[in-house]
């Protein structure tokens, strides 16, 4: 087990007039090598939850263990935990500050006190992981890049710390469809090639469901569904609509056919899935 959360509750401004209970009794286990999507509407507690994973926030009550170590115990080295769990914030391009991309990505390893030779190796490795050519990019200013590229540099600057787990908060927000697909395929590659444990946080299903293996749906501070995307779309479609998340068009189409009494599989995620299912269930292919 990599991360284990037991009865986590969190309240902002405890004892103040604006006291808000954000997380309610969260129980969650994340294994090494998992690829997870965390979905929920704005304000449901997603960002608050992931900030508990590496001790940025301390729960009001409950227990969090990372690799068996209880984060609330006295004397726990949170610095080490934060090296293991790399957190990429929303709009990470806003936190770029160095003069060159090399310096930007080298910042983390340098803080770890590594010698220059090792730092360079880490920078090369991290830039390669996000598909940025070292020779073309290392000496450029991060501010001369496009939005999508800046986001990849920010991702590289987390990867250079060599975390075991990567959490990305809304990694595709405000990118156009191409930029969104690029960053998702980088993250997929990092997961598959390096066995990285990944949690993708998003407020919309757009492409996230087709990318991940396990989906957590949050609603008003609770995890209400935890299953594979296929199972969720097949069995919990109504719940998704009820909490305002909506379904991909092809999934909605299958559910509407089913409601009309047609025998179709409703756990479809992509146009490919839907096409296959329609062809399979056609009484006889009626040609024009």
């Amino acid at each position: 087990m990599f991360i284990h959360l037991e009865n986590i509750c969190f309240t902002y401004s405890l004892g103040m007039p604006f006291e808000t209970e954000v997380l309610k009794n969260i129980n969650l286990e994340i294994d090494k090598g998992e690829f997870i999507g965390l979905i929920g509407n704005t304000g449901c507690g997603k960002t608050t939850l992931i900030q508990h994973f590496n001790g940025l926030l301390t729960p009001t009550s409950g227990k969090i263990c990372v690799e068996g170590v209880d984060l609330n115990k006295k004397g726990v080295n949170l610095r080490l935990v934060r090296q293991k769990i790399g957190l990429v914030f929303q709009y990470p391009e806003n936190q770029l500050f160095e003069e060159t991309i090399y310096q930007e990505v080298a910042f983390g390893p340098r803080k770890l006190g590594l010698p220059e030779g090792k730092i360079e190796k880490r920078v090369r490795e991290a830039l390669k992981m996000v598909d940025l050519d070292y020779n073309l990019y290392a000496e450029r200013s991060p501010f001369s890049l496009s939005g999508g590229e800046m986001r990849r540099v920010a991702l590289a600057s987390i990867l250079s710390i060599r975390p075991k787990m990567l959490i990305l908060d809304e990694p595709t927000a405000n990118l156009d469809p191409q930029g969104r697909d690029n960053i998702l395929s980088e993250i997929e590659k990092i997961h598959y090639n390096f066995g990285m444990t990944v949690v993708l946080v998003s407020h919309n299903m757009e492409k996230i469901a087709e990318t991940v293996k396990r989906l957590l749906v949050m609603y008003r501070g609770e995890i209400i569904i935890d299953d594979t995307p296929q199972e969720i779309f097949e069995k919990h479609a109504n719940d998704l609509v009820k909490v305002g998340l909506g379904l991909p068009q092809v999934t909605e189409c299958m559910h509407k056919l089913k409601a009309k009494g047609k025998d179709v599989y409703t756990g479809v995620l992509t146009v490919d899935d839907a096409e296959r299912e329609v062809l399979k269930k056609m009484k006889k292919p009626i040609k024009r």
Partner: protein, 262 residues
């Protein structure tokens, strides 16, 4: 300048009163630049823009044009300035010196249209993203603008917030007869308009009714844009010789067609 960039290149476009057009295109295609030309936030290097017979280059008309063409931007937090919802909507009216009694009337009307009347005394920062964006829309229409330009108004909203905005925009167009220019990345939203303009590198790459534009899947993919899933499915089935119209844009229509075969 050395780094000059041609953001818009020979655009010819006519928008009729009462129309609902959407503009799509990848980042950097010129969508926002085009939008900002519509109410004199930018002036064209070459060419002219006319709003109700007024040239945007005519400095004496700038304020009148801006009153006619309301703007709503991506992030409502950048547009809301007052401490209560109704004060925020009154801000624009105060600036143009509207009488207090009339101001009261306009504020109430605008809040009614965006379905936010019960929140008129609320503090904007306590509202949801969709609600804030509706306040921003109310602020624009309170000036009785005939045209409303919305620049990716749903980019920061969750699915529920997105639907709220699309519903309000459709209502403004149908019931209040406000001409809508709607910029978006989302095809499901563009499908709701009467006419779609696809921009690429500052030029109009495609223009037409949604069913004409979204069925050109290859072109859209080349321009780095999404294609509505349901249209892609319809096209693929059609290619396989199944008698399903390739112009399907809505899930309901697809369900109806498929019912004949399954």
């Amino acid at each position: 300048m050395k780094d000059q960039i041609k953001a818009l290149d020979s655009i010819n476009l006519e928008i009729k009163k009462g129309d609902f057009i959407s503009i799509i295109g990848s980042n950097g295609s010129g969508k926002s630049t085009l939008a900002k030309h519509m109410n004199c936030l930018l002036l064209p290097t070459i060419g002219d823009i006319w709003v109700d017979e007024m040239n945007t280059k005519d400095k004496s008309k700038t304020w009148e044009i801006r009153r006619k063409v309301g703007m709503v931007f991506q992030n409502p937090d950048n547009q809301i300035i007052a401490t209560t919802v109704e004060d925020d909507i009154a801000f624009g009216l105060e600036n143009i010196g509207i009488k207090t009694t009339l101001m009261r009337e306009r504020v109430d009307w605008a809040l009614e249209v965006v379905e936010m009347r019960e929140y008129k005394k609320s503090e904007p920062h306590l509202l949801s993203g969709g609600q804030k964006q509706r306040v921003a829309i109310a602020g624009a229409i309170a000036l009785h603008s005939s045209y409303l330009v919305l620049d990716e108004p749903t980019a920061m909203l969750d699915p529920r917030g997105r639907k709220e905005i699309v519903d309000i925009v459709k209502k403004l167009n149908l019931e209040e007869n406000i001409t809508i220019i709607y910029i978006t990345h989302l095809m499901e939203e563009a499908v709701e308009s009467n006419r779609v303009i696809v921009l690429d590198k500052g030029k109009i790459a495609l223009i037409g009714k949604p069913e004409e534009v979204f069925t050109q899947i290859e072109v859209l993919k080349q321009l780095r844009l999404d294609v509505p899933q349901i249209t892609e499915l319809a096209l693929r089935l059609n290619k396989r010789g199944i008698d399903i119209s390739p112009h399907i844009l809505k899930v309901e229509d697809m369900v109806e067609s498929l019912c004949l075969y399954i």
